[in-house]
């Protein structure tokens, strides 16, 4: 293939709507496409998803390729990979973008392989340099950043959640909707999903929370996390944790923030008994203000903080909680 043009976003849907990550990626796609003088395309796959095409156009797409078939009702590698591949061959983009989500992590590498190219995963930043896509991603547990370009077309990247700004939706935007049919043999789907259980922490979703109280192994116990929950509830926020705290059994895996947990972007993150290992801090790339309470004045977490208190958390959080209660009541 030659004369590649276009920034194609593989859209995701959740509960009958366009997923937030897709709107973010479309924002990035629009900015990149404008620099290149190329259009923004979207690939919309699923069952009963065609009505969502207009929303993708409002969010920045010029052309939406729709593959609406029952076999695509749920994400399955062996159904989605050939379908997205067909769209990419038809659209012939110079760049393909996906979200770094369960789908993106699975689809990205396999699609790149089928298209004879490579993919940079979990990118924090995308830019154009010399007409090429410059992809920046974190590595070494968040201790370092790596910058990549790709020698082959299309250039592919998955994009970290909450790292890109979506456009303000414009319902008056015009675009083209192209229906694509793909022949997928159900017998070719090799994996069978036999069960699924959601495990979400109660209350506000971590990914949406404006205030998060995070606990590390230093919190020391389930009871300790109870206190943090009380504080989070008071501030109408959510409770987060580190992998170490989860592995120690102090909290549910659903609360884990970090490289292998959730990525969050609260206005305020209060880190309690957290050393600030880069793998945890990697999940806080979107946090606007970080405050930490830690016994160790040299703790890595303080390098990321606006405010810090060097102390055992048990001496600080109870009076902090009382003062917050007082301030909110007054």
């Amino acid at each position: 293939m030659a004369n590649e043009s276009g920034v194609l976003v593989v859209a995701e849907t959740a509960e009958g709507a366009v997923a937030a990550i897709t709107l973010e990626v479309l924002g990035a796609a629009r900015r990149l496409a404008d620099k290149l003088g190329q259009p923004v395309q979207a690939a919309l796959l699923g069952q009963g998803v065609e009505p969502l095409a207009q929303g993708l156009i409002a969010a920045g797409a010029d052309k939406v390729y729709v593959v609406d078939q029952p076999i695509l009702a749920e994400y399955q590698t062996d159904a989605f990979v050939p379908a997205v591949e067909k769209v990419c061959r038809e659209a012939n983009p110079s760049i393909v973008l996906l979200g770094q989500t369960d789908v993106g992590r699975d689809l990205g590498p396999r699609l790149a392989f089928r298209l004879g190219t490579a993919v940079a995963m979990d990118c924090l930043d995308l830019a154009i340099g010399d007409s090429r896509l410059v992809m920046t991603r974190a590595c070494y547990g968040g201790n370092a950043n790596a910058q990549h370009t790709c020698k082959t077309m299309p250039q592919m990247a998955t994009v970290r959640v909450k790292s890109q700004e979506p456009l303000a939706p414009d319902a008056s935007r015009q675009g083209q909707v192209i229906k694509v049919a793909v022949d997928i043999d159900p017998a070719a789907v090799r994996t069978k999903i036999t069960g699924r259980r959601k495990e979400e922490a109660e209350g506000i979703r971590l990914e949406d929370a404006e205030v998060i109280v995070g606990g590390g192994r230093g919190v020391g116990s389930l009871d300790g996390f109870q206190t943090l929950t009380e504080l989070a509830d008071l501030m109408k926020g959510a409770v987060g944790s580190t992998r170490a705290a989860c592995d120690a059994g102090f909290c549910s895996v659903a609360t884990q923030i970090g490289l292998t947990g959730k990525v969050v972007s609260p206005a305020l993150y209060i880190a309690v008994g957290i050393s600030g290992a880069s793998q945890h801090m990697a999940g806080l790339s979107g946090a606007k203000n970080i405050v930490a309470i830690n016994k160790d004045p040299e703790a890595n977490v303080f390098r990321y903080c606006r405010y810090g208190i060097v102390s055992d958390w048990k001496a600080v959080i109870p009076p902090f909680l009382n003062k917050v209660r007082q301030l909110r009541a007054g």
Binding site: P109, R110, F113, V134, A144, N145, R197, I290, R303
Partner: protein, 268 residues
Amino acid sequence: MLHMICCVKQVPDPETPASQFKVDEAAKKVLPAPGIDPVADEYAILGVEAALRIREALGEAKITILTLGPEAARDSVKKALAMGADEGVQLTDKAFEDGDSFATARALAAAIKKMEPFDIVFCGRQAPDWDVGVTPSVIAELLGLPCVTRACEVKVSDGTLTVERVLMDGFETVEVRLPAVVTISNELGEPRYPQLREIMAAARKPVAAWSAADLGLDPSQVGAAGSVLSLDRLYVPVQEAQCEFIEGETMEEAAEKLATKLREAKLI
């Protein structure tokens, strides 16, 4: 007898304190922290653990450890052999070095093919150096196999794999026919720690070394030469936050000051 191949990688210790983590920007490489030895990728070691648990359930199975890396990576192979694996294969050709995930997968897939017949390929969900998590999917593509990622439990029965895997908001159970590639996440649990006797026995287990030629691969297909994703820069991002430490006559006073400051900043 079931044959399981576990891909293991040796990486700089992820527990290296951030203050000791340094990059040589000109060479685009991480400088080894003095006194901190590299370790076996913890997720890959859990892959070995998953294989050992399956062997225990079935009564018997063959477990081979596969690694691509410099000669020093033999330590990671030895650790896996001490845990209970039977033999190892090392890909130490210079041609394999500095590849992107796709070039590395090409070498690993060729080695795995050379070890046929096999039933399961275990990998870690992502290696704690580059944190990419692409290589296992590409190995699966090259070998025409399904790949189930982020497993926290793996069971085998009558040629079918039942995997419980971790999603961003919960868990999922997946069934797939063998052969398959499976990647393991930390939720699998704790790996077994070898006893001294097992460590010594591991020294007698065979470890083969294969080159690109042994795999029928041209050097241009693997390593840096076979890569399309170029690493243009590697650097430590500068942390710009200036932390204001809040103090008081008592911790209570400090805590109250903090609450007041956050209230003033309209953050609570």
